[in-house]
Every structure is written in structure tokens, then in C-alpha cells.
């Protein structure tokens, strides 16, 4: 594989700070002018088990991890055994003295040094940071600085311990393993996909986010909660997903932009509220971050089983928007776009993503200046105001309650029952048809509204055609560094971007997705009559390492 990319793997038990160590190494690498890509493999437990983090460090943008690592630090025996086969040629695999007799691993006196330097609780995770710094030509002062900033407890002990490890590695490997070229002007801040989504929604006007913890969507809730006092956005942990979506619709009624987010199980609970949004015509952004199901499934892993679930969310007939970001930049811009679209079309919109994007991390400049300007909100009202005025576009003017927002005698009624124009309930056959037709006219309005945005992405050149959506596109873009092919990614899934994709009508293609049923392939067949040459499916909850995906693609191309 590319000699430019330096791959690091940190493994150990939950609670040992595996992910933290990788994050701090990523920070150090970014400070030294590198691109990083980090993915964490962890389980739904707090102590024990086996966690590991993969980090790709490179002079050029990296979109995915590699199976073979150049540097491995194993904090326990299980990690050593699990990752013996993951060593690249010339890899250094460090472990604690006494944990392994295997000649391939290099024992270090981690415990002995911890005993020497700590009175109380010790941080084994620091050793990985110090080893990395010493092997990659990072100065001791830079190491100490980041340790001070990132490990706030037992600072003096941390610094002494890290310095001891650093000296030991420097002594044994005076040449180091890799020198990091200091590329100028690279993005200096790291973001996970969920952070990019949260910030994009915020940029798009989000004031209220309602959620209930469910991996891998929870960190949106956490991240926005921390932004309250600095950014004026409110993240509310509701009593359930049922509450969350109904609260969000209430906030939209009162004129504030709101959103909800969950994974499949929580989204299933929100179906009823999603349908309510369709009926009352509430503008609502819903973030669905998938993991393998059904039911509780594999909570901390990735999957793309929910494509049709998203497309068909909610009972009854009504228009919605579904789109899936194919990159971290798009996670930001799409969240803003979808919130704008939801308000422009007074319809629910789903941002469909997966754990692989939600929880992976890269260094990134948020495309803040590339966002479309907000819509002007000049609405034409009829007198008296009628919430569900029958319009040609199917979109009726919005007014909000409260002195200052509406006239004293305006009546603004949103109704979950079928209703007449004023918002009062009806069961009249004629009106049921008129209102259904009004809402159906929104399909066309939504198509028009989405056309101002980038609805598909194309990457690479080559004879072979590959389709994917969501974070699978990231895996494929990394593979494109080694194998030429054309990658086509629909960003918008509903409404389907027929205009942009018409040239692929009936084309032969390979489809890559993370599901056991080729749902996305079926979708492409339905929409474009694409002839599926091969389905590359992965459904064990793991993402494709770059080497594995290249192998699968080669087999598919040669078939």
C-alpha cells in the first residue's frame, strides 16, 4: 500500500483510554501538518472487552483506514493476539512487558514505569502518545504541551511518565520510524461526522435539537448540549424519541428551527411523529444514523440497512426529502441544506448516515462559505389567515403564534386530523381529496427546491462504473488511489435526481453497500434500470479496510 500513509492502531480494554490516545495522536499529527482519518472499533460496554482505534496519517487527504498498521500499541494481551496479523511490513508492535512471548511484538516496561511515576491512578494511554511522538520526530516539548492540554488530571506525573517512555523509544530507535512532513495550511481542526452534522444544522438555523441517547447518533446531542452558552442552541434530552419528535414539531409550530436524531430503533419510535410532520406540514430535520439491526442489533457498529426504512418512514402518503452525505464536508453542508429545504417545503427531511461517518474523524475546514444563502421568508397571506390555504405549489404560507408574530385575531391551527383550509378537522370526502392533492403537489415543489443543490457526486475516471451512497463513498474514494474506476454517488435519494443520473440509465455497474440485502442496488434498478454486475456487500458491522475493498473490486472488475 501507499508508503505515504502511516497507519497507527491502538488496542486495549474499554476504560484504558484507547480512543483518547488515538485522538491525541491525531491532534499531534494535525499540528504537524498532516491529514488524519480515525475510526474507533468499540463495544457497548464501559469496562473490559476489546476496543481499538485506527488512525491513518498522510500528506494527502485520507478517506478510510487500512488493515495493516505501521505502528501498533497493545495495552493488553487480547489486543496483542487480535492484531498480530494486522502488522504491515516493518511494523512496530509494542506491548507491556510480560504480556507476550511472541517475537513479533516488542515489550516495553509500561507498568514498571507507571509504578515509578504515579502515586495513584495511572494513564497507560499516554504511553501510546509518547511512543508515537518519539517515532515520528515530534519534540518532547510538543508532546508535553499536548499532554498538559489533553490529560488534565495528574499533570506532573503524566509529563514525567510520558518523558520516560519518550526517552526509552528515542534511545532504542534513534532514527525513528517516520518523519512527518510539515505541510502548510492543512485543516487544523478535527471533526467527527456527527460534529459536522451538528454544526451544519446549526449553520442552517437550528435552535432546538431533541433527542434520546442512541449510538451512533448520541454524540450529536452531546455536542450541541455543550454549545448552549456559546452558540445559543438548545439540545434537550427528552423522555423518549416519541417525546423528542413531538417536541420538535411543537417548536416548529412556534417558529423555531428544530431537529431530532437517532438510530434505527429510536427512529422506529419516531415514525408516528414523522407521519404527524407530514400531516401538519411541519418543517423538520431528522437525522438517522444507522447501525446493524434489527432491534438492538450491533449497537456500536456500522450498516446501511435502513435505506428503505428512511424512504418509507411514517405511515400514510406524504412527501419527504431523504439525502445522505458522502463526505464530512457534505455532512456539514447537507445538514444546513436539508433544514432549509424542510422549511422551504414545510416537509420532513431525513439526513441518512451511518456509524462509519457519524463517529469517524478527520481534520477539516468546514465549508462555511459555500452554503447557499438563507431563503427570504416573504409569504403571501390570504385574509383571514388560513394555515392550509390551497395553493398551486401545495405549500401554504406559514405564520407563527404570539404577539409580534401574528395579528391578534389570527387563528393558526395545525391539525393531525384531516382538515379544511383553516386547520379545523374534517371528514368530508371532497376535502380529503382536495387536501391530499394539495400535499401531493408538494412533491413537484420539493423536486424544484432540491435542484438548486448538488444532488449527486462523481469521483474518479475509468471504464468501470461503481455506485454507492453515504460513507461507503469514502471507502471507495480511498480505493480509487490504487484502482481506476468511476464512482457515482446519489446524495439526494428522495426526490431521486433523475436529471443528473439519466446518462446511467440501463448502465452496467457494481454496487457497494453495507447490508446483506442489496437494497441500494434494488433502488438503482427501480430508478435507473441499472444492470447490476456485482453487489459487493458487507454486513458484519465493520467498514471495509482499503486493502479488502480493493481486492473485492478487482474480483468484481475481472468477473
Amino acid at each position: 500500500m501507499s508508503s505515504k500513509i502511516y497507519n497507527v492502531l491502538i488496542g486495549g480494554k474499554a476504560g484504558e483510554g484507547v480512543k483518547k490516545a488515538a485522538q491525541v495522536i491525531a491532534d499531534l499529527a494535525v499540528k504537524h501538518g498532516q491529514y488524519i482519518f480515525q475510526t474507533d472499533d468499540y463495544q457497548s460496554l464501559i469496562r473490559g472487552g476489546h476496543n481499538f482505534s485506527l488512525l491513518s496519517i498522510s500528506d494527502e487527504r485520507t478517506y478510510n483506514t487500512y488493515a495493516k498498521a505501521d505502528l501498533i500499541v497493545s495495552f493488553d494481551q487480547r489486543s496483542i493476539l487480535r492484531h498480530l496479523e494486522d502488522m504491515a511490513e516493518g511494523a512496530l508492535h509494542f506491548c507491556n512487558e510480560g504480556d507476550s512471548e511472541d517475537a513479533r511484538v516488542i515489550p516495553l516496561p509500561l507498568s514498571a514505569l507507571m509504578k515509578e511515576h504515579y502515586q495513584g491512578p495511572a494513564h497507560i494511554s499516554l504511553s501510546a502518545v509518547a511512543i508515537f511522538a518519539a517515532l515520528c520526530g515530534i519534540s518532547l516539548s510538543a508532546l508535553q504541551e499536548i499532554i498538559k492540554a489533553e490529560f488534565r488530571r495528574q499533570v506532573d506525573e503524566n509529563i514525567a511518565y510520558a518523558a520516560a517512555i519518550y526517552a526509552l523509544i528515542k534511545e532504542r530507535y534513534p532514527q525513528g520510524q517516520r518523519s512527518l512532513a510539515a505541510n502548510p495550511d492543512l485543516p487544523a481542526k478535527n471533526y467527527t461526522g456527527n460534529q459536522a452534522i451538528a454544526l451544519g444544522a446549526y449553520a442552517g438555523g437550528l435552535d432546538y435539537y431533541y433527542g434520546y441517547p442512541m449510538t451512533p447518533a448520541s454524540s450529536i446531542l452531546h455536542y450541541l448540549a455543550k454549545m448552549r452558552d456559546t452558540h445559543g442552541v438548545y439540545a434537550i434530552h427528552a423522555e423518549s424519541e416519541l417525546a423528542a419528535i413531538n417536541m420538535a414539531i411543537g417548536s416548529a409550530f412556534a417558529g423555531r428551527r428544530s431537529a431530532v436524531g437517532s438510530s434505527g430503533g429510536g427512529f422506529a419510535l419516531m415514525q408516528e411523529g414523522f407521519s404527524l410532520a407530514g400531516m401538519v406540514e411541519a418543517p423538520l430535520l431528522c437525522i438517522l444514523s444507522s447501525r446493524p439491526g434489527p432491534a438492538t442489533g450491533a449497537s456500536t457498529y456500522t450498516g446501511q440497512e435502513d435505506l428503505y426504512f428512511a424512504l418509507n418512514q411514517g405511515h400514510g402518503e406524504f412527501a419527504r426529502i431523504v439525502a445522505s452525505p458522502d463526505s464530512f464536508e457534505r455532512a456539514f453542508s447537507l445538514a444546513a441544506e436539508l433544514l432549509d429545504l424542510a422549511w422551504e417545503c414545510q416537509s420532513p427531511a431525513i439526513l441518512l448516515t451511518e456509524k462509519q461517518l457519524s463517529e469517524s474523524m478527520i481534520n477539516l475546514n468546514l465549508p462555511v462559505d459555500d452554503l447557499h444563502p438563507p431563503l427570504s421568508d416573504e409569504a403571501k397571506y390570504t385574509e383571514p389567515y388560513e394555515r392550509y390555504a390551497l395553493t398551486e405549489s401545495g405549500i401554504s404560507p406559514l405564520k407563527f403564534p404570539g404577539a409580534g408574530n401574528c395579528a391578534e385575531d389570527d387563528i393558526i391551527k395545525w391539525n393531525s386530523n384531516e382538515h379544511v383550509e383553516s386547520g379545523v378537522r374534517t371528514d368530508t370526502a371532497f376535502t380529503i381529496v382536495a387536501m391530499r392533492d394539495k400535499r401531493n403537489r408538494k412533491y413537484e415543489s420539493i423536486v424544484k427546491a432540491t435542484q438548486k443543490y448538488q444532488r449527486i457526486a462523481r469521483y474518479g475516471q475509468g471504464e468501470k462504473l461503481v455506485f454507492a451512497y453515504g460513507s461507503t463513498a469514502l471507502e471507495l474514494r480511498e480505493a480509487q488511489k490504487y484502482l481506476p474506476f468511476r464512482l457515482v454517488v446519489p446524495i439526494y435519494l428522495e426526490p431521486f435526481p433523475f436529471e443528473e443520473l439519466s446518462e446511467y440509465q440501463g448502465a452496467e455497474a457494481i454496487v457497494v453497500e453495507h447490508a446483506s440485502h442489496p437494497n441500494f442496488a434494488r433502488f438503482l434498478k427501480e430508478k435507473l434500470n441499472v444492470k447490476i454486475k456485482t453487489n459487493i456487500l458487507r454486513y458484519d458491522g465493520r467498514h471495509f479496510h482499503t486493502e479488502e475493498l480493493i481486492q473485492k473490486l478487482k474480483e468484481a472488475f475481472d468477473a
Partner: protein, 271 residues
């Protein structure tokens, strides 16, 4: 002041307790308006059931939400615009069955909204099934041999959940009920009003309530006393059981400021 009755045909049964409740609500809204609340600031939400029909009959803004979810919807409304007075209409099946979690949590948070519970002791609109407030032995479509479950006592339930205003009134005591709703809406924090509401079709309790209801002269001096009075079957005590001023949810988490503009947000993200 504009009229509060819409032109929508009223389909409550003749003699339904909801008529008294509707009259009392209109009276309290008039009192709120006369006390200085703009009509534009009074909004409602309702669940699904006979109670929910009030949404169509009452000429104020609001959301006719989903069965059981009206309190969650109302909480979102209040958070987004704290200046609004938010009245929530719920049925006993709606607010204490399907939506019990939202009722308990609105009280727990001390969300500054008012729940008016139409307690008719059964599911009326679905033609008479046992509700969470049906008495033991109630014979309905789902309990033809008699209800074996014991009913909740809404007043004590809501006190335990943390409601900072808890009262009980009766649809046939319109003056008492309208005063209580007025006080409940003006109370800063979560206010809960249990309204005893006879259902002439499936649970006619007029005679029971007319004979046994008694208005308390004052708020019980202790929570213990309040609990024992609330559980009393004879007399059935009407009045405010509990009232305290404690911090309101939205005031503890937000400053109530205006939404930032796109430009302000982008500037913050770049800083």
C-alpha cells in the same frame, strides 16, 4: 374581545360534561385576556379523544396533536416561545395511558404549561373501554367481566411527579373550574387541573359527583393531608391541593433570546 366559539358543528353528546368544561375554559381565557394577555399569546394543544374536539370548537391557535403526545408537543411550543401561555387538553386515556410518560416528565421538569385533564373515567370516543382512571369493576368493551385494575389517583400521581400546581374541579361547577384554570395558567410552572367530567354515554357520574363533591375552603396545610383528601371517595374534594413556586424549566436552560441570523452563526463557526 373576539368570539371564542368556532362555527364547527359540535358533536359532543347532549349533556356531555365537556360542555361545562368548554364554557369554563372560554371564561378563563376571557379573564386572561382582560388581565392583559394578548389573544395571540394564548395557544393550545390537544390529544385524540372526545376531549380533543375542543380544538375545533375553541377559536384559538394551536396543534391538534397525536393521541397521548399533546404535552410533548406543547413543551416544544413553550420552549420555542416562552411568552406563550400554553393550555393542553388531555383525556384520561390520552394523558395517563398512551402519553403517561410525557405527563410525568412535564411535571418533573416543571414545564410552564397547563394540563387540563378531562377525566371521564373511560375511553369515550372509542365507545367505552376502561381507562387508567376507570374504577375497579368498570364494565366496558375491553372489560366485559369488570375492570380488575385499580385506577390512578391523578392528584397524588401528579404531586409525586413534581407538578407545582395541582387542582381538581368538576364540569358542573363552571365558576370554580374557570377560576382554577385561570389560576393554573397564571401559575409559573407546571399546572395540572383534574376535571371530573361525566360521560353520559358510557360513564354517567353526574349523580355521584353532584351528591359527593365538596369544595375545599383552603389548600391543605401539608402534602400528607393533601394526599389523604385526594383519595377520599366521600366527599370528593374539589380545589387546589398543592401550589408552590419552584424554578421553571425553560428559565433554567435558556435566555429566551431571539434566534441568531445566518450571518451571526457563520461568524461564530469561523471564530
Amino acid at each position: 374581545m373576539r368570539k371564542l366559539i368556532s362555527t364547527k358543528e359540535n358533536t359532543w353528546c347532549t349533556g356531555c360534561g365537556n360542555f361545562g368544561l368548554f364554557a369554563a375554559v372560554r371564561k378563563s381565557i376571557q379573564m386572561l385576556h382582560e388581565a392583559g394577555t394578548p389573544m395571540a399569546d394564548i395557544v393550545m394543544s390537544a390529544g385524540i379523544g372526545c376531549h380533543g374536539k375542543i380544538f375545533d370548537y375553541l377559536e384559538i391557535s394551536g396543534i391538534y396533536g397525536l393521541h397521548g403526545r399533546a404535552l410533548a408537543t406543547a413543551s416544544g411550543v413553550k420552549l420555542a416561545n416562552p411568552q406563550l401561555k400554553v393550555l393542553v387538553f388531555g383525556g384520561d386515556g390520552d394523558s395517563l395511558g398512551e402519553g403517561l410518560e410525557h405527563t410525568l416528565f412535564a411535571a418533573k421538569r416543571n414545564m410552564d404549561i397547563t394540563l387540563i385533564l378531562h377525566n371521564n373515567g373511560n375511553y369515550g370516543l372509542t365507545t367505552g373501554q376502561a381507562s387508567p382512571l376507570s374504577i375497579k369493576g368498570f364494565k366496558g368493551l375491553t372489560t366485559p367481566m369488570g375492570n380488575v385494575e385499580r385506577p390512578f389517583t391523578p392528584v397524588t400521581l401528579m404531586m409525586e411527579a413534581g407538578a407545582s400546581f395541582v387542582g381538581r374541579s368538576y364540569t358542573a361547577r363552571i365558576e370554580h373550574l374557570s377560576q382554577m384554570i385561570f389560576q393554573a395558567v397564571n401559575h409559573p410552572g407546571f399546572s395540572f387541573v383534574e376535571v371530573l367530567q361525566p360521560c353520559v354515554s358510557y360513564n354517567n357520574t353526574y349523580q355521584l359527583y353532584n351528591e359527593h363533591c365538596q369544595i375545599m375552603s383552603e389548600i391543605p396545610e401539608s402534602e400528607e393531608k393533601a394526599r389523604s383528601l385526594a383519595k377520599s371517595a366521600d366527599p370528593i374534594y374539589l380545589g387546589i391541593y398543592h401550589q408552590e413556586e419552584i424554578p421553571v424549566y425553560h428559565q433554567q436552560i435558556q435566555d429566551g433570546g431571539a434566534s441568531l441570523t445566518r450571518a451571526q452563526r457563520l461568524a461564530l463557526l469561523k471564530s
